[in-house]
Amino acid sequence: MDLFFHPKPRVEDFEAAAMPHFPDLYRTARLLAQDSTEAEDLVQEVYLEAWKSFHRFQTGTNCRAWLFKILHHRLHHFRRRWAKAAKVEALENPEDQDSLIAETPVPQEIRDEDVLQALGRVPIEFREVVLLADVQEFSYKQIAETMQVPLGTVMSRLSRGRKLLRQELAGVAHSFGITPAKDPPRAGESA
């Protein structure tokens, strides 16, 4: 019955519900995509896709989470174009975790362009979780629902994503001659 008798959606209603999240979606898309054109295409597709299925959206539910879920799905289509996407499988291998345990020093001065460059080097699966958690402040549960992965996968990807970003950030900063902040001395060491 829903197929034939769903109420006719109004574009005004859709805009009222969805357009307030335009800045958040764009920012996330911009940091996921290679450039601003890709980001704009991605956001546009998200909105058109959302409008097509707006009759299935339940008023009163979390429109922002719904839009980010669509963003996540559209991202898969875009990823095919992004040849530089790294393989997640290798990084999800437990053996690789050891290399990430050691804390990487963080530069005292973190420039925006360094963040952008470092972020671009983090595989997109990790980058997406980091952005959803640290920038959009979604809960682990919401991220798991958005990406349709188990909660444990969200936690591990976030942890590794943060570490990878930090590593890349240190590498970028070092290449520009920025000194990382020193770690505190370990037990038995003198400062």
Binding site: L3, F4, H6, P7, K8, P9, V11, F14, E15, M19, F22, P23, Y26, R27, T28, R30, L31, S36, E40, V43, Q44, Y47, L48, W51, K52, H55, E103, P105, V106, I110, D112, V115, L116, L119, V130, L131, A133, D134, V135, S139, Y140, M155, L158, S159, R162, L165, R166, L169, A181, D183, P184, P185, R186, A187, S190, A191
Partner: protein
């Protein structure tokens, strides 16, 4: 010299919680443990500060990405272009309605064709039965070609001639309650057509039984046009010029029963008469030569004309 203690086991445990702490995903008790440790561990505090700094830098960079106003407007323009019509924007629904439309058109076309076919068929039935109605009206009703007192059967058989005389008995037997007043072979003025005419009286009215060579005229095929089938005989009926007529056909003849009795009555009477009459006519006991020889024009009223048969 500033010596710091580093409890690697405890720090390791706390640092495993730092990601969840940073995301505010820890239980209250665990958060308290982390805070207690951070108060006493400068190394872990620095580590948390480093992670927080990276996160804040990331947030700062995100906020610095200004969404283009042109993109917002472009999206809104496209949304309004795609405002759904009365079908609610459902592609499946659009297809379903389109399919339903095609089905309606096809079925409508078939129904219209059937309807036209039925109309045409009924017109043909009426035009064939019009022959019998015309003969009844001209010869029996307007011409009054029957006596008030029935002619004797022998005289009627003589008028019918040897080829049709045998039909008198069939008509007498199958018309209970009717008296056969007259029987003769009649010709239509201005037409080569001739017909065998039985005029009977009963149920307060005059009834004609008419047999004529079909000469190419025939009832249309199809159940939709006939009133019933009695054995191998199909019956047709129509109301024409105030008369009800029922008709049937044999190999070479058309048969009509005409009066002003009700249609049901006429069909009932015809259903009794038609099978034996058809059997007798098909048996070949009737020859055209005898019909021609015995035929005589009926007295006709003014304006009498040959009934027009519509065969298309």
């Amino acid at each position: 010299m500033n010596l710091l203690n580093f409890n690697s086991e405890q720090c390791g445990r706390i640092r495993r919680h730092l990601d969840a702490y940073l995301s505010n995903e820890l239980l209250v008790e665990t958060t308290s443990d982390v805070l207690r440790h951070l108060e006493s561990c400068e190394a872990c505090s620095r580590e948390l500060e480093a992670r927080t700094r990276v996160r804040d830098a990331l947030r700062r960079v995100a906020v610095s990405q200004i969404p283009p106003e042109e993109l917002r407007q472009s999206i809104q323009r496209q949304l309004r272009k795609r405002q759904p019509g009365f079908l609610g924007g459902s592609r499946r629904l659009t297809w379903a309605v389109a399919l339903a439309g095609v089905i309606v058109v096809v079925l409508g076309g078939i129904a219209t064709e059937q309807w036209i076919r039925v109309l045409r068929g009924r017109r043909i039935v009426a035009s064939v039965l019009a022959l019998g109605v015309s003969d009844h009206l001209q010869c029996a009703i307007k011409g009054h070609n029957y006596p008030n007192i029935a002619n004797p059967p022998e005289q009627l058989r003589q008028k019918l001639g040897p080829q049709y005389a045998g039909l008198l008995q069939v008509v007498q037997q199958k018309l209970p309650g009717f008296e056969i007043l007259e029987a003769h072979i009649c010709s239509v003025q201005g037409s080569p057509r001739k017909y065998v005419h039985f005029i009977a009286r009963g149920r307060g009215t005059i009834l004609s039984v008419i047999l004529t060579r079909s000469e190419g005229a025939q009832f249309p095929n199809g159940k939709a046009f006939r009133s019933g089938a009695f054995g191998s005989v199909n019956l047709y009926e129509a109301h024409l010029e105030g008369m009800n007529a029922a008709g049937f056909e044999s190999k070479e003849y058309l048969g009509f029963v005409v009066s002003d009795l009700s249609q049901d009555t006429m069909v009932q009477i015809a259903s009794e008469l038609a099978p034996p009459l058809k059997a007798a006519l098909d048996a070949g006991s009737v020859s055209e030569a005898r019909v021609d020889q015995d035929a005589a024009p009926c007295a006709r009223g003014a304006g009498a004309s040959r009934p027009r048969v519509l065969i298309t």
